[in-house]
């Protein structure tokens, strides 16, 4: 098993390099220059007002100095080389915006995004699996058709719309104030609160974002569960199990369920890469200080080091997700041999 994991990890290296290279090239080949953007806010505004040639020279000099400080004046491959070298020491450089080390900024916000996403993944599986089992065992009944339709509607519900609707109608505004419109804790939150209060406050703030992050997931996953389970239900061994007189409960939960959980595990891998991307919208709508919001702001400000770092972290998460689901797959289904590649 360890040999297989190491083998996979080695294979990830070219993929990982490819991803970071793509990110790097996009950031650096796109028209526009962070120095100019920086100048556009501060120095350039002065330049626009028709300053003398002398001062213009000073501005240019300052910009050149700034570029040199961040190594932006070097050739691209040298910059990429330095970036890679720093990566080994987990040094993602300093943010262009506030000169804070990017790694620190990310670590600050990581718990928030992780909480959101882990909770929503748990919710996804908690709802999708029972729903899928119900739909598959009662297929074409009224209940199944209602679930199917509901899943379809939830799956097509754009998260931007659902989020805005929740904000407008349920979170303050002119309508109901059932949930807070922003942040993760109340303004008067204090560490002295009793634990139960803290949990309550957290739950109240997390409820809407987590629900919005997960609804399309459990809608989609319950369909996969239904399809997978129906496929297993039609197989011969299920008929055999029923024929030998096993209770229906045993057939469903012991024989069918285990076999239909396999595709559910692989889907975990496809959820992970979307974590940061998916939380961008929710974190922006609800002003939650997580990685998604950080990424969105960094992209708008052309904060190269931050964007690159987030890009790297999310693709690492994705690769880990793929590996994890491959390993889990063998746990759920011992027939899958290590090292054998599937088509």
């Amino acid at each position: 098993m360890w040999r297989y994991i190491v083998q996979r990890l080695v294979l990830f290296i070219p993929t990982f390099l490819g991803i970071t290279l793509i990110g790097f090239l996009i950031m650096h080949l796109a028209p526009g220059d962070p120095a100019d953007l920086l100048a556009g806010g501060g120095l350039g505004a002065a330049a626009g007002e028709g300053i003398s040639l002398e001062k213009r020279g000073t501005v240019d000099q300052a910009l050149a100095q700034w570029r040199a400080q961040y190594g932006l004046d070097r050739p691209l491959h040298v910059q990429y080389g330095y970036w890679l070298k720093n990566l080994f020491t987990l040094n993602f450089g300093d943010s262009f915006k506030d000169n804070q080390p990017v790694a620190v900024k990310i670590l600050d916000r990581l718990p928030v995004t992780l909480t959101l996403n882990i909770l929503s993944i748990i919710l996804v599986y908690l709802i999708a699996i029972p729903l899928g089992i119900y739909s598959a065992t009662h297929s074409y009944s009224l209940g199944d058709q209602a679930t199917t339709l509901a899943a379809f509607i939830l799956f097509s519900l754009p998260v931007v719309w659902a989020g805005t609707m929740a904000l407008v109608f349920l979170c303050g505004g002119d309508f109901y104030y059932w949930f807070p419109p922003a942040a993760l804790t109340s303004i008067d939150y204090s560490p002295q609160w009793p634990l139960w209060w803290k949990i309550q406050d957290r739950a109240w703030h997390l409820f809407m974002p987590v629900l919005l992050l997960s609804y399309s997931g459990f809608a989609g996953l319950s369909r996969y569960m239904r399809t997978g389970m129906r496929e297993v239900l039609e197989q011969d061994f299920v008929r055999t199990a029923r024929a030998k007189g096993l209770a229906e409960r045993v057939v469903i939960f012991k024989h069918v369920l285990r076999n239909s959980l396999i595709p559910m595990v692989t889907i975990l891998a496809s959820i992970l890469p979307g974590l940061i991307g998916g939380s961008i919208i929710i974190e922006t709508i609800f002003s939650i200080p997580g990685l998604g919001q950080l990424g969105y702001q960094a992209v708008l400000a052309r904060d190269y080091p931050t964007v690159m770092a987030l890009f790297t972290v999310s693709s690492m998460l994705a690769l880990i997700g793929i590996l994890l689901s491959d390993i889990l797959l063998t746990v759920v289904d011992p027939r899958i041999a290590f090292g054998r590649r599937e088509v």
């Binding site: 996009i26 379809f152 097509s156 754009p158 890469p273 992209v299 987030l310 890009f311």
Partner: protein, 358 residues
């Protein structure tokens, strides 16, 4: 898992023989079977109707919501300003000097027949910002007094355009790469499969907003970027189909007859591999529309003066009292996406021979 694979293979062969035996009316038999199956699915047909309706709205958007009248009598002469604006755009016609750059609503014409929504999506009216829905503005107005109904009608054009163009791009890339990988196998497959893995692990949405934010805002760039980041699904489907079909006898026969690789790939294999790809095309259109609405919701990738469904929704975020800005454009996105999903799902069922006749 092995059973699923076997039945999939069965379906490909089934499709293959169907196409093969149709002979004289080339493949018509297969698609009419699919259509017959599709028609039975009431939800899918409802989706198809909505999609068709959206096409009609998008094509005739200028006739549904326009600040120019259909017909006007002015100073003793008859004009058809909407039709004329098409001629002017094509460079065939010209506005008469007295009608150049005028507000048709202010003109003292004898008769004027306006479309049901007498606004364009970009008509700014600073006298009526955040107007409630009323007979005058059916769905209210936004902060610049732009009519939301007109925005929703004209936004259908943008979403339709985005959906089809970006999926067109991803279909082209996906089919070419998938076909190469599936047909040639060996190192070509290995290389292209690495590329798939890379694209799967890449944080697509983050990449998308990065590119869209770095490039100058333009609807065409956004479409291309969406297309170029969403081809993996189609490519993998195509590859898997090619892997299966490549080993069928008729392909071996074609190769033995000395048909060129290109011909075998695109004339003999591709038509039979397209069916499962069709499903991801339809679902891809829905996904592209969703992505575009998220981008314009975040204010990335579309020019500031372009009214899209996502951009109207974006205004609701900071003006939460204006509920109509949240409800209607979002409903439009939702209905469109739902319709495409229903069509896609219906198509998937119709293409699955195991369900046929059941």
């Amino acid at each position: 898992m092995s059973a699923g694979k076997a039945s999939l293979q069965g379906s490909a062969q089934n499709g293959g023989t169907l196409v093969g035996t149709a002979g004289s009316n080339r493949g018509a038999g297969y698609w009419s079977l699919v259509w017959r199956q599709f028609r039975r699915d009431r939800l899918a047909m409802a989706g198809l109707t909505v999609v068709a309706g959206l096409f009609v709205v998008a094509i005739f958007a200028d006739f549904l919501a326009n600040d120019k009248p259909y017909y006007m009598r002015y100073q003793g002469a008859s004009y058809f300003p909407i039709f004329r604006s098409y001629l002017v755009q094509m460079g065939v016609g010209k506005w008469p000097p007295e009608l150049l750059n005028v507000d048709f609503k202010e003109l003292e014409g004898e008769t004027k027949v306006f479309p049901p929504i007498p606004y364009r999506s970009n008509n700014i009216d600073l006298r009526a910002p955040f107007a409630d829905p009323s007979p005058e503005h059916w769905l209210g107005t936004d902060k610049l007094g732009r009519d939301v109904m007109a925005g929703v009608v004209h936004g259908s054009r943008i979403s339709l355009f985005i959906g089809f163009v970006s999926v067109g791009i991803s279909l082209t890339i996906g089919i070419v790469l998938g076909a190469l990988a599936g047909f040639f196998g060996s190192w070509v497959d290995l290389l292209i499969s690495r590329l798939f893995e890379l694209m799967l692990a890449i944080p697509t949405f983050f990449l998308l907003i990065t590119i869209a934010a770095l490039l100058p805002p333009s609807i065409f760039l956004t479409m291309s970027v969406i297309g170029m980041t969403s081809w993996v699904g189609i490519a993998r489907f195509t590859r898997n189909e090619f892997l299966k079909i490549r080993n069928l006898d008729y392909v071996t026969a074609a190769i033995a007859l000395g048909v060129s690789n290109r011909q075998v790939m695109f004339r003999h294999i591709l038509p039979n591999a397209l069916a499962p790809v069709m499903v991801s095309v339809v679902l891809g259109i829905a996904a592209a529309i969703l992505v575009e609405s998220s981008l314009s919701f975040l204010g990335i990738g579309v020019p500031a003066d372009l009214v899209t469904w996502g951009s109207i929704l974006n205004e609701a975020r900071s003006n939460s009292f204006a509920w109509w800005l949240a409800v209607f454009p979002g409903l439009a996105i939702f209905i469109t996406v739902l319709a495409y999903y229903l069509v896609g799902e219906g198509l998937r069922d119709a293409l699955d021979p195991r369900l046929r006749g059941s």
